[in-house]
């Protein structure tokens, strides 16, 4: 298996478009977060950056879902569209192992990208907000830690879901559209103030789970009024969504790859 991990790593590292995608994703997140801090600063000059406001923005996570979903998808779709997948499977008939190796490498690369992006974002937004002392109290705050972890983990989550959709659909355009609908549009469209099950469905999306995991922190600062009257997502429930999406995605991809002709 380590031989395949190495091979997949060479494949990712050797494509400019993947590297460009990672950088683009990171810049997008930085832009959204920095922009939010600057806007915040203008409203209340000198105000300390709220952890739930400045550093973790909705926009940044829409960027993550979309760009990293696409990066994960392109890892397989680029092989199908170029025909490389046939060379790959002629060299490695154990297709399941190939997809497993791709999933592991994609998880590692995007998790590191997420970590680097969020450390950068944190430092930059702190400086812009005029925070010069080392924020040790904040770093040891479990709510902050949870918000940070959920934001970083959204990178590999999106990429694995994208990868799985790529294995199932194979065609570039259709895959990208499906990734956007499933990860980005679904949570915005599936909302209801009347039906509890629609609300549950909404809460089962990665974006809602991420919001849950960071909102809980915001609640801690200033509880928002409960408009809908429905149950709010629990921390455990949100982590379950974080676990189930990539897990199901990878299992489906591993099963699907065995049966179809390439």
């Amino acid at each position: 298996m380590t031989d395949l991990l190495r091979a997949e790593w060479v494949k990712i590292r050797s494509l400019r478009s993947f590297v460009a995608g990672l950088v683009l994703g990171a810049l997008g997140v930085l832009y959204c977060n920095v922009n939010a801090v600057l806007a915040d600063g203008r409203v209340a000059r000198g105000a300390r950056v709220r952890v739930g406001g400045g550093v973790f923005t909705n926009n940044a996570h829409i960027v993550v879902l979309y760009i990293f979903g696409c990066i994960g998808a392109m890892v397989v779709v680029s092989e199908y569209s170029s025909g490389l997948i046939r060379s790959t499977f002629a060299a490695v008939p154990a297709r399941t192992e190939v997809i497993a190796a791709k999933s592991i490498v994609v998880t590692a690369v995007t998790a590191i990208a997420g970590l680097v992006t969020y450390v950068l974002s944190f430092v930059v937004t702190m400086i812009l907000a005029g925070q010069h002392r080392f924020p040790s109290a904040l770093l040891s705050n479990p709510d902050f830690q949870r918000a940070m972890a959920s934001s970083v983990l959204l990178f590999p989550l999106s990429a694995l879901v994208g990868l799985s959709i790529g294995v199932l659909i194979r065609h570039t355009a259709t895959t990208i559209v499906t990734v956007s609908v499933l990860l980005v549009l679904l949570p915005t469209f599936v909302t209801s103030e009347k039906h509890a099950w629609v609300n549950d469905l909404h809460n089962a999306t990665p974006f809602a789970a991420w919001q849950g995991l960071t909102l809980i922190h915001r609640v801690y600062l200033s509880p928002p009024p409960d408009i809908t009257g429905f149950a709010n997502p629990t921390v455990g429930g949100c982590w379950l969504v974080y676990l189930l999406w990539p897990l199901l995605a990878v299992v489906v991809a591993l099963l699907a790859i065995r049966w179809r002709d390439v």
């Binding site: 031989d3 091979a7 494949k11 060379s87 499977f89 060299a91 490695v92 008939p93 154990a94 390439v262």
Partner: protein
């Protein structure tokens, strides 16, 4: 050794390969011939387990290829020279294949040298000509030093020197006791490269014999291999210029 028994593959209503039985022996260059659309590429994809047969089976060295975990040490294949990602360099493309099969990294410069691509190793494949891609595909097939080699239309896009070189390479590989199976739709090409022939038409077997035996089928003693091939496949052409015969 490649053995196909009653091999069958349908695509929707098309029967691409129809109960095909043949054997490709080691130590020979075996030409795989048939008109356009007769099922050559399909058969090669079935051999490599890229497509699953609807009936029958095909084994390489007695084993169904898909049951191997890694393939390059068992079968080297060039199915389509364009089955590469244009954004990678020749070296990275081969390095990924070598790593995937646990082959020593030193094999990459070795095979690049063997096919004459060493000075473009760091260039992106997207800028390669078809002939250069064919050479890269041959390099990939040689990576694992396999006992069985399969090539689909390897002469496409090669210059005269390239064709002569590939012919020499095939003879050398067969001389080393390997199984070399080469498809083509041009008899003239195979006449100079192969010593055995498997001929198919519309997915069914027409001949599986030595070149001499095949030549002896000719009605007139002066008949060329090409004449025999035309005669044999005349009623099994799917795509004919100028309408039906």
């Amino acid at each position: 050794m490649i053995e196909a028994q009653e091999l069958t593959k349908h695509y929707g209503r098309t029967t691409a390969v129809d109960r095909l039985t043949f054997t490709v022996r080691p130590g020979h260059v075996t030409g795989f011939l048939g008109p356009n659309g007769s099922g050559k590429s399909t058969t090669l994809r079935l051999i490599l387990g890229l497509h699953a047969p609807d009936g029958g089976r095909v084994t390489v060295g007695g084993q169904v290829f898909r049951t191997h975990r890694r393939g390059l040490r068992h079968v080297g294949a060039l199915l389509d020279a364009t089955d590469v990602h244009g954004g990678r360099t020749a070296r990275d493309h081969l390095a990924a294949l070598a790593w995937s099969n646990g082959l020593p990294r030193g094999r990459v410069p070795e095979v690049l040298g063997e096919v004459g691509l060493d000075n473009v190793a760091r260039r992106r494949i997207g800028g390669f000509s078809l002939g250069m891609k064919q050479r890269l595909g041959i390099a990939a097939a040689l990576l694992g030093d396999p006992p069985v080699l399969v090539f689909d239309e390897p002469f496409n896009g090669l210059d005269v020197a390239g064709i002569a070189w590939v012919r020499g390479l095939f003879r050398r590989l067969a001389g080393e006791g390997r199984t070399v199976f080469v498809s083509s739709h041009l008899m003239s090409e195979m006449a100079q490269s192969a010593d055995r022939l498997v001929v198919i038409g519309r997915g069914t077997l027409l001949a599986d014999e030595s070149v001499e035996e095949f030549a002896a089928r000719g009605a007139a003693p002066s008949a060329s291999l090409e004449d025999v091939f035309m005669e044999l496949t005349a009623d099994r052409l799917d795509y004919l210029a100028g309408g039906t015969p």
